[in-house]
């Protein structure tokens, strides 16, 4: 399944190493006394620069190949617009021109903001309900027996499958979209929370009991903090799922919204707009994923050390 496109693990090192210049990617430095002294004053920064440069080169190659394909007219222009056209479309969608505001009466950034807001609200509800649900599943056997299959059931459903039902129930305004995102985002959070709660080290539970901890201090003082790293990972996956689902959620009456924008553009064969939308989703996804990772580093500095 391709549930977590923006939070895809393959994107992970890309996002993290730009943020931190992570040291494991640094190749062993050649001991060359003549040249190494001035250049390696800050080897970490130097390496980070080098990887950024590599990334830029890769990007340039990609754009070049794209331009080449367009120039050679391998496919018709309507299907594959040039990078320049997409850039032009990006400018149009981001500005007010001839009295027209962006695309479909909204600037690109507004479409994106509306979608992000939906994602935020959806994931927010998913956290509020998913974490307690996961704790219950992980800690109470009868709850697990009943609800765990339900969570797995929901997790395997593609959002488009239940969108129709949500539209019948809730109409075409904001609520079916939020519902869809909640339903899509909650299972990964509940599942990873449950797994984390089951994986709480028995050693530490015993230590807390030996100190006189009852049920509540045990939950708040040991179970939740020890589960926190995995809960955060679950939330990161859920954000990814919400990202992939938001386009589905916005297929009906989705303007403003980046998914709605793409949907409308598809209807009028505006390939460049579709591509602008895709790039906007992908880039904002990378940024968001990096932010979530930074948050993890702040909240769980002990991760992998105990």
């Amino acid at each position: 399944m391709s549930t977590a496109a923006p939070a895809d693990p393959e994107l992970a090192p890309v996002a993290s190493s730009t943020a931190s210049g992570s040291s494991e990617e640094v190749p062993p430095l050649k001991a060359d006394p003549a040249t190494s002294k001035p250049r390696n004053r800050n080897p970490l920064r130097f390496a980070a620069l080098r990887w950024t440069a590599l990334r830029l080169v890769a990007l340039a190659v990609l754009l070049g190949a794209w331009q080449l394909v367009v120039v050679l007219e391998v496919w018709p222009r309507v299907l594959v617009p040039s990078p320049g056209e997409v850039w032009h479309q990006f400018i149009l969608a981001s500005t007010v021109h001839d009295g027209v505001r962006g695309y479909g009466d909204h600037l690109l950034i507004e479409h994106l903001a509306v979608s992000l807001r939906r994602i935020g609200i959806g994931v927010g509800y998913a956290v509020v309900f998913g974490v307690p649900l996961g704790v219950a599943i992980g800690a109470v056997r009868p709850v697990a027996v009943v609800l765990e299959p339900a969570v797995t059931f929901l997790r395997t459903l593609p959002p488009l499958a239940y969108l129709s039902l949500l539209v019948i129930w809730f109409g075409i305004d904001e609520s079916p979209k939020i519902w869809l995102l909640v339903i899509a985002a909650m299972p990964p959070i509940a599942a990873s929370t449950a797994a984390a709660v089951r994986g709480v080290p028995g050693d530490l539970v015993e230590a807390a009991k030996a100190l006189g901890a009852g049920r509540l201090p045990l939950l708040g003082g040991v179970v939740l903090p020890s589960a926190l790293p995995e809960i955060l990972t679950g939330i990161r996956i859920a954000v990814g799922v919400a990202y992939t689902s938001v386009v589905a959620a916005e297929t009906i009456n989705g303007v403003p919204g980046i998914g709605g924008m793409i949907r409308d553009a598809q209807r009028y064969n505006q390939t460049s707009v579709v591509i602008v939308g895709i790039i906007a989703i992908g880039l904002s996804g990378i940024v968001l994923d990096a932010l979530m990772k930074a948050l993890e580093r702040v909240l769980v500095p002990w991760r992998g050390r105990a």
Partner: protein
């Protein structure tokens, strides 16, 4: 209590007079009743009886796998014996009720700082929030870690972590203290310092201590009584009384140099060699 059953009452009171009573206990792991089907249960400890008076300092020594940790876990209330009865202060052992435990590994909470680990214990024992900082500083100085409140637990050395674990177990001022090879990971100097600290603390506060070690030297220095265990299945095979002075003012460091200490240590070492080869 109703006078009708005076014999039971008397027995209960007799038990309550002791800090720990183990009465012919046998402990099995992987018992069929506990759902480990298809595996023969391991008898970790067989038919062990043991009584600790209040304020006594008893040391368990014996080869690896002879059931020392198992006995401690019974007394701590983490395991129940398959046969026989166990009580602490006259009641079935329950974790956290006046019994402090220092495990073989430090078992600190990595999401809390050193001070936070101690504060967790203090909070569980009803120490009000504004009194915790002072008490934390006091506990840390007791184990030679003054000023380490804000350190992350994983930044500490193994020995430092174990010292925090000791301080954390002392936070609740337990009546009964169980220590499982607490000084095994320490350097010699720190170990000696902490041995003296624990011995003095026990004689000063009257805390009952059950202490597990591999070291004959440590056993003689600390214990008022040393129990030698043997494996296969785990049992107590010998008891050595240690008639060294136990006043709060006793110079523990000086004890190490006395002829009496050397003699007892030699006796215990010989006994340990016998158990290992028999």
């Amino acid at each position: 209590m109703p006078p009708a059953d005076s014999s039971t009452t008397a027995a209960t009171e007799a038990r309550a007079a002791h800090a720990v009573v183990l009465d012919r206990i046998t402990v099995r792991y992987g018992d069929a009743r506990r759902g480990r089907r298809g595996r023969a249960p391991v008898t970790a400890v067989s038919d062990v009886s043991l009584t600790l008076d209040r304020g006594e300092f008893v040391v368990l020594v014996g080869p690896s796998g002879c059931g020392k940790t198992t006995l401690l876990r019974i007394v701590a209330g983490f395991e129940r014996p398959a046969e026989g009865t166990a009580t602490t202060h006259g009641e079935a052992p329950t974790p956290g009720r006046g019994t402090g435990v220092v495990f073989q590994q430090p078992r600190l909470f990595p999401w809390r700082t050193v001070g936070g680990n101690l504060a967790f214990a203090l909070a569980r024992h009803g120490v009000p929030r504004d009194a915790r900082a002072a008490r934390t500083a006091e506990l840390l100085s007791q184990v030679g870690l003054s000023g380490m409140e804000h350190r992350r637990t994983w930044e500490l050395s193994g020995g430092q972590q174990q010292r925090v674990a000791i301080a954390r177990a002392l936070a609740g001022e337990p009546e009964l203290l169980l220590l499982d090879e607490p000084f095994a990971a320490l350097d010699a100097l720190t170990r000696e310092h902490l041995q003296e600290e624990v011995r003095t603390l026990a004689s000063r506060t009257g805390t009952t201590v059950l202490f597990v070690t591999h070291s004959a030297e440590e056993a003689i220095l600390l214990g008022s009584r040393v129990l030698v265990m043997a494996a296969g299945p785990g049992r107590i095979v010998e008891e050595i009384a240690v008639p060294l002075p136990r006043e709060p003012t006793t110079d523990v460091a000086a004890l190490r140099g006395t002829a009496e200490f050397a003699r007892l240590r030699g006796e215990l070492a010989a006994s340990l060699r016998n158990t290992a080869t028999s």
